[in-house]
Structures are given as structure tokens and as C-alpha cells.
């Protein structure tokens, strides 16, 4: 069975500073990896995805993520955070054999002025 670990429950970052959110997955073969963002009262919005190919993927809102097979990681980064980036972020995994998404517990990001 596939699973996802997000080690950081809560991160506080200053506006304009860089942000990195960690994600580790457990899956035997090649995973499909996703990052979603959820603002209060909103549904989940897809930031970016990795299926195959280039291990550095670009997403919306200036986010990027890097797939590192050797570390079973798919960390999310943004060079300069805006106040509107305050939200909860979820890493998720699926696969060609198992279409359903398995989510991590999420990381809450707070942006201070």
C-alpha cells in the first residue's frame, strides 16, 4: 500500500522568504505525485504533478517540486512567499495500478508580515 508522510505539521515563514515543504512517500514502483493547496472553506486545488520525465516540475503560483527517487521525496518549494500563500498544503501519491489518491496529513503554512 502506498503512503505519504509530511513531517512538518506547521511552518511559519516571513513574507518574501523562501518556503520548502517536505514530503516522503512509500511505494514500491514509480509513483504519481501531487501537491494540492487548500484554503479555509475551499476545496483542494492542484499545484503541480509528477508522472515521469524531468524530476523538477513547475506548477502554478510560482511553486516547484523535485522528485528524488533515492530519497523517496517530493518536496515543494517557492522562492518568495506572498501573504496569499497562507493555507494548508497536502502531498498525495497514486500510481498506474492504483488511481485513488493517498494523502499526507498536511502542512499548515502561516505567513507573517
Amino acid at each position: 500500500a502506498q503512503s505519504v508522510t509530511q513531517p512538518d505539521i506547521h511552518i511559519t515563514v516571513s513574507e518574501g522568504a523562501s518556503l520548502e515543504l517536505r514530503c516522503n512517500y512509500s511505494y514500491g514502483a514509480t509513483p504519481y505525485l501531487f501537491w494540492y493547496v487548500q484554503s479555509p472553506g475551499q476545496g483542494l486545488q492542484l499545484l503541480l504533478k509528477y508522472f515521469s520525465g524531468d524530476t523538477l516540475v513547475q506548477g502554478i503560483k510560482g511553486f516547484e517540486a523535485e522528485f528524488k527517487r533515492s530519497q523517496s521525496s517530493f518536496n515543494l518549494r517557492k522562492p518568495s512567499v506572498h501573504w496569499s500563500d497562507a493555507a494548508e498544503y497536502f502531498c498525495a501519491v497514486s500510481s498506474p495500478e492504483d488511481y485513488k489518491l493517498s494523502f499526507g496529513a498536511g502542512t499548515t503554512v502561516t505567513v507573517r508580515a
Binding site: V4, Y32, Y36, G41, Q42, G43, L44, Q45, L46, K49, F51, F90, A92, S94, P96, Y99, K100, L101, S102, F103, G104, A105, G106
Partner: protein
């Protein structure tokens, strides 16, 4: 519509009541998923439809939970004899094609059982 819509957005039910939650998918999306998100947790898979066929219901927590998609479009998640532990946000997601690897989520229905 432009995105996945769900209704109602909020539902309060007394313990023991039956509830029905509706999902309107993006037009043409073949795959439809239901997830349950407890407070402070990530969403957890409940069930998956490909058109009108329910291909996976392994995540449904009990036989009180039932989902249908009779015409391959709108889906309804029904919970019978609600319990307090059913309180959660219920999310619907849809995707083009079989398998549904890129899923688009609705805003969810927040169910509170008192």
C-alpha cells in the same frame, strides 16, 4: 459548469438521521471519487466510479455508507443512521478518462452530526 460543485455546502444532522450529499462533476469527466476529510487530517478515499460503474468501494467505512452514480454524471453519497464519528468534510473529485490521475476537487460538504 466550470468546476465540480457539491451540495449542500453545510449539513447538520441529528444522530440517527439519514443524509444525502450531491456531487455535480465537470461535464464529460468519466471518473468520480469521494473522499472523507476529518478535522486536521488529509482526505481519505471512500469510493470510485467510472461512468456509472462503481469500481472500488473499499474505503467506505461501514455498510451505512452508500454511493451511486446512476447515469454516469451526478453522484450521491448517502449515509444512513448517522453517527458522531461521521462528522467530516466530504469531498468529491472528478477526472477525465479512465483511472483519473489528475483529479479536480469540489468545495466539499461539511457534515456535522449532533
Amino acid at each position: 459548469g466550470a468546476g465540480v460543485s457539491q451540495s449542500p455546502r453545510y449539513k447538520v444532522a441529528k444522530r440517527g438521521q439519514d443524509v444525502a450529499l450531491r456531487c455535480d462533476p465537470i461535464s464529460g469527466h468519466v471518473s468520480l471519487f469521494w473522499y472523507q476529510q476529518a478535522l486536521g487530517q488529509g482526505p481519505e478515499f471512500l469510493t470510485y466510479f467510472q461512468n456509472e460503474a462503481q469500481l472500488d468501494k473499499s474505503g467506505l467505512p461501514s455498510d451505512r455508507f452508500f454511493a451511486e452514480r446512476p447515469e454516469g454524471s451526478v453522484s450521491t453519497l448517502k449515509i444512513q443512521r448517522t453517527q458522531q464519528e461521521d462528522s467530516a468534510v466530504y469531498l468529491c473529485a472528478t477526472a477525465t478518462g479512465e483511472g483519473g490521475y489528475e483529479q479536480y476537487f469540489g468545495p466539499g460538504t461539511r457534515l456535522t452530526v449532533t
